[in-house]
Each structure stands twice: as structure tokens, then as C-alpha cells.
């Protein structure tokens, strides 16, 4: 499968995404500079984590205006698979490809640690290798991962089954104690109505190998690989 990883000034998990996809999952990977508009015919676009534009103004607020984002939006509109991780999730929200926003963590501090997330919906191209209710151990590293959306938006997310993963404890219980950043209803990741755009704060790019302490992120990549290549769009 062919992945295109976008690179913004300040992206810093681009290398991690490249490594896990190319060297661990053995896939074809292209790095796409933010000033380019040609996505190079991917099956899936990865918007990686980091501090695009130094998080100036607001996380993801400037990156959404990079030329590459117009191409990503067009690609998504045609049904192409797009996954945004951490800052990538923030950028997708700012770009309007996903609903809601990510605000400062409850407690106001950056948090880097392993967390558990529970798969709420496996009928997506990003979670089809998981079982509903399965817990995944995946690290987080962010200062602004507190997911928020208004009541109407939340209802819509629920009605359309767009909440994909929630923070939980080791046994899969979704509790306030297991919520590291104050996210509404422990939301860790969501998709769009069409199920082809997925954003999450935890890092499957840092948890694809046993040597790193968890390989649960591998299930996300396996899901994408297993997803119908029919999702691929013609540029």
C-alpha cells in the first residue's frame, strides 16, 4: 500500500510514521512537503504529530492553510483515507475535516505516558482489525489533547457512531480516572461521517513494535492495510 506523510514546518513525528510504515509494516511511503500540492497518488494520507508552526496562534491553526491541505481535503472528499495523529488530529479539526476541537489539557501540563484506549467502533478502515471493546496500550504526548465539541455536535457524533476510541483503564473501563486530559466523554479519537478520515491523540506510530513497549498500534496500521483498496481515489 502507498502512504503519503505530510511534512509541515515543525512536524516532528513524520520520521516515526515513515519508520513504522516503511520499516516495520513494509509499505511504500512518500514524504510530502507542505508547499507541494501533489500527494503522489497515495492509498492513505498520514498527517503526523509534532508542533506544526510551533503551535503558534493555536495548534494546527496555521498548518491548515498550507498548500498541501487543499489537496488533502480534495483527497478526503473523494473518499481517500486520511489519518491524523496528535498534531495531525488537531490540524484535521482546524481544517474542518473532522468536527470539534482540541484544547489545553485539564491540569494545563504536557503529558507523556502510556494510556489505554477502548475501541468503540470497528466498522471503520482504521479499526477493522480490532474487536469492539478491545483495549489498546498506546502512548500519548501532548499539551492540547482535551477533545471538545458542543452538545449538538456530540449528539451527531454518537448518532453516526463516529467516536472510535475512548480513554479507559487497563481492563477497558471508561472512567474519569482513566481520562488523562479532560476530553469530553473520554474521547481519544473520532472519524468523519463517511468513515474515511480518522483523528486520534494517541500515537500508533510509537507503538508498532514490542521493543518500544507496545505493538498495539500495529492493529491500526493493519486495519488500514486490510481496508478496501477501493477507498483509493483517482487524482
Amino acid at each position: 500500500m502507498r502512504f503519503s506523510v505530510t511534512v509541515f514546518p515543525g512536524s516532528n513525528c513524520d520520521h516515526d510514521c515513515e519508520y513504522v510504515l516503511r520499516d516495520v509494516e513494509k509499505q511504500d511511503v512518500q514524504m510530502i512537503w507542505h508547499k507541494d500540492t501533489d500527494l503522489k497518488n497515495p492509498d492513505c494520507v498520514v498527517v503526523p504529530g509534532g508542533f506544526s508552526y510551533g503551535d503558534y496562534l493555536r495548534t494546527g491553526a496555521i498548518a491548515r492553510f498550507s498548500p498541501v491541505m487543499k489537496s488533502v481535503a480534495d483527497f478526503a472528499a473523494k473518499g481517500g483515507l486520511v489519518i491524523g495523529i496528535c498534531n495531525g488530529f488537531q490540524i484535521l479539526c482546524e481544517a474542518g475535516l473532522l468536527p470539534g476541537a482540541l484544547i489545553r489539557n485539564k491540569g494545563l501540563k504536557f503529558i507523556c505516558q502510556n494510556v489505554y484506549i477502548r475501541v468503540e467502533n470497528n466498522q471503520t478502515p482504521f479499526t477493522n482489525a480490532c474487536k469492539v471493546g478491545q483495549t489498546l496500550k498506546i502512548p500519548i504526548a501532548h499539551g492540547e489533547g482535551n477533545y471538545f465539541i458542543d452538545a449538538e455536535g456530540l449528539k451527531s457524533l454518537k448518532d453516526n457512531n463516529q467516536i472510535i476510541v475512548r480513554y479507559c483503564d487497563e481492563k477497558g473501563n471508561v472512567t474519569p480516572e482513566a481520562n488523562p486530559n479532560g476530553s469530553l466523554e473520554n474521547i481519544a479519537g473520532i472519524c468523519n461521517v463517511n468513515r474515511n478520515v480518522f483523528g486520534l491523540m494517541p500515537h500508533p506510530d510509537r507503538s508498532g513494535e514490542d521493543i518500544l513497549g507496545s505493538h498495539d498500534g500495529h492493529l491500526i496500521w493493519q486495519s488500514i492495510l486490510a481496508a478496501k483498496v477501493g477507498a483509493k481515489c483517482a487524482d
Binding site: P9, C112, G143
Partner: protein, 743 residues
């Protein structure tokens, strides 16, 4: 405007304000054959400051061992570089940012990280890990809490934004650092041998190019400020503290590595302390060349800056480089890609002079060498009387506490001993997906992708030992850092040091400095560990006196096969627990004596270098044979604290616990055996089926070994003296700092 500054007369008062001694001024006049103008005086002032010129330390630093088979670059460059095999090399260095952090903790610490990162990528290496060593006054002081929180926040924001994992560190709280915190930052980078580049200017006519952030009025005289004592007036020098922009530095790093890896440069140097002045004269001096620049061409942040201000500004995130012939346009193209400022501001000459013009008008003309060759002083030294007092301390005057459980509980919660989870949770310690052993074990371990190689790293200091016995204390600092590396299963290959001391012009401070250097040197020679670079921070004083002499050691370890790595915590019920080394006999200099009895005195532990080396060899052999399940050295808090720390994982938020039951070895006072800090001791756990082979290897290496107990249960039991639930110990250990900071 500049003409008015140029007209400032250089009077003895002006010379004094620039931190130069009258005899230093006379020397400048002799070099120039005339009186310097105010701009030239400024150049000498910063380059001859202690921070840049090492004038009180250079003579002693030269005695340290810096050579070895693996050393590709020793001291004198931006960072040291060592060969790690398979065409790869590691660049690493530690540097202080104490004074700025004391005045403005967030920016001071952040720019400290920025500065050391530039030192690494300036050599052509991609930074892959950061470490830091922090020291503050007691955490109960609200002012300390503010400083501590600000420093950690500054380090976190800078490293996190840059995408460099902060993988290890240490934090000590002690009265000695009240009003003068220590912030030492270390960075580690990876590069291929053929990517090494140095900070030199060669090739007459080659373009000298300025890249990165614009130059403002911030940080003027930062280096001079760092070379004086902090006083009440220091807060007025806040403009000497620079402002951090990690996003700019991230762009600068990517652009710099693209330039170096594209083979477009002759040399490159970052603008850190003493800014454009330092980078210009050092590059010219190293290349045996001259440089001529025009300050009017320097990208400026504000209007009306004088040549003096432009030359002395310490605005952050800037570099100076010399392009290869015909590559100037390509350099500008790379910078344009990253939306960075780039300006050709001068050329390399063969005159050996640093010539500065402003719109073509000469403003400074001095021999480049003369700036980099600050005078060397051999200050007077005298042994402090207090050292004799420490030796007279009679341990019999300290009563052995009745409730030793209570003592252990107090030690586990002591902020110096307690888990630094509150700190490292704020640092992204996993980005770049190389971190195999995260913060919380004896050493952090990262992998080198595409190879079997791994790097173990740690940063350590023992100011209180050095205060009691500077020679022995310094030996122990090196030994402890190397021991941490050995516990992880790696071979220590090299080190960097940051020497934090008081005012060297005080004979007692200089005595300490002299003895510490002797101790560091002897230990490094005994272990075969070269020192590849470092930094000296003097004048760390406050109104009540000098800080404890505090050499900080950053140690680099190498794994030929990173699968041999070992962590400090127990793995499985039923595993045997062994003590390598001898049980303690003294409480002198221990954290226990300080925390429980309020005394910092006595004989600090002594260290036998041969015994220590045998221990390291054993640990490496055991790790390579996969015969140990865990290894943890006994340091602050002695045997009992080390055993407790072996009972829980340091991994954030997943503190798994395993109990242990052991006998207490030795005879004599029980507090010394539990909490004394005798050296060269490690607690290991071993699978019962490996016990015979394990004992064979240890005995063959001549290390004392005793099987003391077994892993398992919910309690930690030491003989009849200590019996506590492990979850209770873990809770005290992990939440102590969090609770204090929440108050």
C-alpha cells in the same frame, strides 16, 4: 547613532563595567598597539569572560584525559564526537544555563536546551536525546517551587517542540542551591563519520553567511553576566537573559542538517554565548584565517542597533556558516525552502584579523586569535578549614532511630530521592520512537535504527560528597555514572562534564576546583573513559556563600547489541536477589544523615577504583549472557532505598510492584547497613535456574557477592528491621513531588 556610541571614551570606569581587570586592559592595548575603541572593548569583554575564555579553569582542564581510540573529536569544538561502529558516531555535550535560569526560569532553561542542541547539530549530528541535571534549594520554599516548575516547563516546551526526546535526568534539592539553582542541559546526536563538520573558516574569498533568527537587543553581555556572582541587582540584568523560540530552532536544525548533508559548507558554528563575536573570531581562529564582516548586512529585529549591540547580542536560534566555493546560491535556496533569513555578511580572508565594518566604515579590527586566547590564571588555593571539621565528625553522637520503617518512608518521600515522574511526564521522552528504556531506570537506552547498536546514557552529580571531600566525591561521581551505564548492560565509552563552582578568585573555592579536577581525571584514567568536552560554570554564589562544588557528569554507554539491555526493577516472583559488593559501615555524607538527622557532615564514602571497575566488567558480562533480570545500584538512601526502588517499575502510570524478602548483611550499626552509602554496590535479581552460572561469572571477576533473598509477596522485608507494604513505598515514592507541587 553608531557614531555617538563609537565616540564613547574608554575610561577605567568603562573598562571595569565591562568586567575587565586593569591588567587585562593593558594587555589589550599591547595586542592592538593602541587603545581599543568601545566596540573592540566589548569584543574582548565577552570573549575574555570566564564563560567564553575559561581563564580561571583552562590550566586545570588541560590535565583531564581526552584521548581514546573511539574519540573522533575531543574538546575545543562545539561538541565531542565518538565512534560507535558501523560507520556511526555519537556527538554529545553538557552545558550550564544556571544564571539565566535563576533570574528567569522558563526562558533561562529553554534557551539552555536550545543552546546545547545547536552545539550538537552544528557538528552535523541529528539530536536524538536530551538529558538534564537540575539543582534547587529545598522544595518546601515557595520560591523554589516557582523556579522548579518554571525550569521544567521551559525544558519541556523547548525539547517537545523540537521533537527531541528528553530521556533522563536528575533533580536534587539542597540548601546549598538556594538562590543559585543549577540547570545543566545535555544533548546527544547521531551522525555518520563522513557527516562531521567543524566550526572553522577557510578558503580566502568564501562567503560568510548568517542564518536564522534576526538579531535583537536581548542577551547583550549574557556571557559576562554569567561570569559574575548573582546579587540583588541581578534581577535588573534580566535583559541579559535571552528569549527562546523552539520553532525557529527546529527549522534551523532541519535547514542546517540539509546544508551539511548536502556538502555545501566549509564550516559552521552556532551563535551562543557572545553571539556573532564568538562565532566569527572562533571560526577564523580555528581555520587559521581572518574574517571580514559588515554588520549593516545582519538581519536585525529593531532599528538603530549599533555595531556594539549587533556584535554582542545573544539573540537565540542563529548560526554562522562558510559556504564552499560556488555553493552560496544553493545555501540560500535551502534557507528559502525553510523560510529562514539568510544573509551573506562577509568573506574569509587570510589576514588573521577579525575586521568589522558598518556600511563599509571600519568599526573594529583585532587579531582573531587574541580574542580566543583569553589570559590564563592560576588562582591561589587554600584548603577550607571546614574540611577538617567534617573529618572529626563522630557517628556515635547520632542515635540509631528505633523505627526504621519510618526512616525508610521518610527517605522514599524525600524530593531528592523520590520519583521524578512529575518532571519526566512533562517531557516527551518517546518521540523519534527509539526510546527502549524510558526515564526511571539507572540509565536511559535508545536504539540506533537499522543496526543492533544502542546507546545508554545518564547524567549524575554529587555536590554534597564533593563538599565533604572534593577528590573522593569527584571520583564517585564518575564511578556512579559509569555504574549506572554498567547496570543497564552497556559499556561506558566517554563522558562530558559540567563543572559548577563558586567564585574561583576565592582560594577556598579554587581548592575545591583543583581537587575535583584531580578526582575526575583519576577516575576517568582508571576506567579508560575519555572526556570529550564540557563546560565550566563559575561564580555560582549567593549572599550566603558558594554552592557545593558540583561537577556534573554526562556518561555515554554503548551496546553492541541493544537486546542485552537491563532495567532496574524486579521481573518475577521467585527470582533470587543478590548483593554485589559490600554492605555499608558508615553514615557519613549520606542522604539519610541529612534527611533524618539534619546533618551534612562526616567522611564521605570512599571509592576503590579497581573494585569498581571489576563490578562494571561483571555487570556487562552478566548482561551479555542474559544472566540477570534486573540491576540497580545503591546510591542516595543506600541499600534499603535501592531495594525498594527495585520493587517497582519506573514506567509512568504503570507502576507494577513486586515485593522482596531479604536478610540484612553485616554487623554494626543497623542504620549504616540499611542507609549508608558505601560505594560499588548493586542489587541484582537472577532466575533460580541461572544462579550457578551467575555466581561463577561474578566470582571469576573478583566481585564480592551474596545471595540475600527472593522476589515476591506484597511486602518488602529486610531482616527483622524493615517490613512495609510495597504499594505504600511506591505511593510515597511516586506521589511525593506531585503532592508538594500541588500545594
Amino acid at each position: 547613532m553608531s557614531s555617538s556610541i563609537m565616540d564613547v571614551e574608554v575610561t577605567p570606569k568603562v573598562v571595569k563595567e565591562h568586567g575587565l581587570k586593569p591588567e587585562e586592559y593593558d594587555h589589550i592595548v599591547k595586542i592592538l598597539g593602541r587603545k581599543p575603541n568601545i566596540t573592540e572593548l566589548g569584543l574582548y569583554s565577552v570573549m575574555w569572560s570566564e564563560h567564553c575564555g575559561y581563564k580561571h579553569s583552562r590550566a586545570l582542564l588541560k590535565t583531564l584525559p581526552t584521548k581514546g581510540d573511539k574519540v573522533l573529536q575531543g574538546p575545543g569544538e562545539n561538541a565531542g564526537i565518538m565512534d560507535i561502529g558501523e560507520g556511526w558516531a555519537v556527538a554529545f555535550k553538557v552545558e550550564s544555563h544556571n544564571h539565566p535560569s535563576a533570574i528567569e526560569p522558563y526562558q533561562g532553561a529553554a534557551t539552555g536546551v536550545g543552546g546545547i542542541l545547536r552545539d550538537i547539530f552544528t557538528m552535523g549530528a541529528r539530536p536524538v536525546a536530551n538529558l538534564n541535571s537540575l539543582r534547587f534549594g529545598p522544595l518546601t520554599d515557595p520560591k523554589v517551587k516557582r523556579l522548579f516548575a518554571g525550569v521544567v516547563h521551559g525544558i519541556a516546551d523547548y525539547g517537545n517542540c523540537m521533537g527531541i526526546p528528553t530521556v533522563a535526568g536528575e533533580v536534587v534539592f539542597d540548601d546549598s542551591y538556594s538562590e543559585n539553582c543549577l540547570v545543566n542541559a545535555m544533548s546527544v546526536g547521531l551522525l555518520k563519520h563522513d557527516q562531521i563538520i567543524r566550526g572553522k573558516a577557510t578558503g580566502v574569498g568564501n562567503a560568510v553567511i548568517y542564518i536564522g533568527a534576526t538579531t535583537g537587543r536581548d542577551g547583550i553581555h549574557g556571557a559576562t553576566f554569567a561570569s559574575t556572582e548573582i546579587t540583588d541587582e541581578s534581577t535588573e540584568k534580566r535583559s541579559a537573559v535571552q528569549v527562546a523560540d523552539p520553532f525557529m530552532e527546529k527549522l534551523l536544525m532541519e535547514a542546517t542538517l540539509e546544508l551539511i548533508h548536502g556538502d555545501l559548507l566549509v564550516g559552521i558554528q552556532d551563535m551562543g554565548a557572545a553571539g556573532l563575536t564568538c562565532s566569527t573570531c572562533e571560526m577564523a581562529s580555528r581555520g587559521g584565517a581572518g574574517i571580514e564582516i559588515d554588520v549593516a548586512k545582519v538581519p536585525q529585529r529593531e532599528k538603530g542597533m549599533t555595531p556594539y549591540e549587533i556584535l554582542l547580542s545573544e539573540s537565540q536560534e542563529r548560526m554562522l556558516l562558510v559556504a564552499k566555493p560556488g555553493c552560496e546560491q544553493k545555501v540560500h535556496d535551502v534557507l528559502a525552502k525553510w523560510d529562514l533569513h539568510a544573509a551573506t555578511i562577509g568573506v574569509v580572508t587570510d589576514t588573521g584579523r577579525m575586521i568589522v565594518k558598518e556600511n563599509g566604515k571600519l568599526v573594529a579590527d583585532v587579531p582573531a586569535d587574541s580574542l580566543t586566547e583569553a589570559p590564563v590564571y592560576h588562582p591561589a588555593k587554600s584548603e577550607p578549614a571546614i574540611l577538617k571539621e567534617y573529618k572529626k565528625f563522630d557517628e556515635a553522637t547520632v542515635a540509631v532511630p528505633k523505627d526504621l520503617n519510618e526512616v525508610l518512608e521518610k527517605l522514599m518521600a524525600d524530593p531528592t530521592i523520590a520519583s521524578k515522574r512529575w518532571v519526566y511526564r512533562q517531557y516527551d521522552h518517546m518521540v523519534r520512537s527509539n526510546t527502549l528504556i524510558r526515564p526511571g531506570s539507572d540509565a536511559a537506552v535508545i536504539r540506533v535504527k537499522g543496526t543492533q547498536l544502542g546507546l545508554a546514557m545518564t547524567i549524575d552529580g554529587l555536590g554534597s560528597y564533593c563538599a565533604l571531600d572534593p577528590y573522593e566525591g569527584a571520583k564517585i561521581v564518575v564511578a556512579e555514572a559509569a555504574r549506572n551505564i554498567a547496570c543497564s548492560g552497556a559499556q561506558a565509552i566517554g563522558m562530558t562534564d559540567c563543572l559548577n563552582f563558586g567564585n574561583p578568585e576565592k582560594p577556598e573555592v579554587y581548592y575545591y576546583f583543583d581537587r575535583v579536577i584531580a578526582g575526575l581525571g583519576d577516575a576517568c584514567r582508571a576506567f579508560g573513559i575519555p572526556i570529550t568536552g564540557g563546560n565550566v560554570s563559575l561564580y555560582n554564589e549567593n549572599p550566603t556563600g558558594a554552592i557545593d562544588p558540583t561537577p556534573i557528569v554526562g556518561m555515554m554507554g554503548l551496546f553492541q547489541n541493544v537486546e542485552n539491555r537491563v532495567t532496574q526493577w524486579f521481573k518475577k516472583e521467585g527470582d533470587f536477589i543478590y548483593l554485589l559488593g559490600e554492605i555499608g559501615q558508615s553514615i557519613g555524607g549520606s542522604r539519610y544523615l541529612k534527611v533524618t538527622h539534619g546533618k551534612k557532615t562526616g567522611l564521605c564514602p570512599t571509592l576503590n577504583l579497581e573494585t569498581e571497575l571489576k563490578l562494571h566488567k561483571s555487570l556487562k558480562a552478566l548482561a551479555e549472557s542474559h544472566l540477570i533480570q534486573s540491576a540497580h545500584d545503591c546510591s542516595d538512601g543506600g541499600f534499603a532505598v535501592a531495594l525498594a526502588e527495585s520493587c517497582f517499575t519506573g514506567v509512568t502510570h504503570e507502576a507494577q510492584v513486586l515485593g522482596a524478602t531479604v536478610t540484612l548483611l553485616g554487623t554494626g550499626r543497623v542504620d549504616a547497613r540499611l542507609f549508608g552509602e558505601a560505594q560499588s554496590r548493586v542489587i541484582v535479581s537472577v532466575k533460580p535456574s541461572d544462579a550457578v552460572k551467575f555466581e561463577e561469572i561474578v566470582k571469576k571477576n573478583g566481585v564480592p557477592v551474596e545471595r540475600i533473598g527472593v522476589v515476591g509477596g506484597a511486602e518488602m522485608v529486610i531482616g527483622s528491621e524493615v517490613k512495609l507494604p510495597v504499594v505504600k513505598l511506591a505511593d510515597l515514592f511516586f506521589t511525593s513531588i506531585e503532592k508538594t507541587m500541588a500545594l
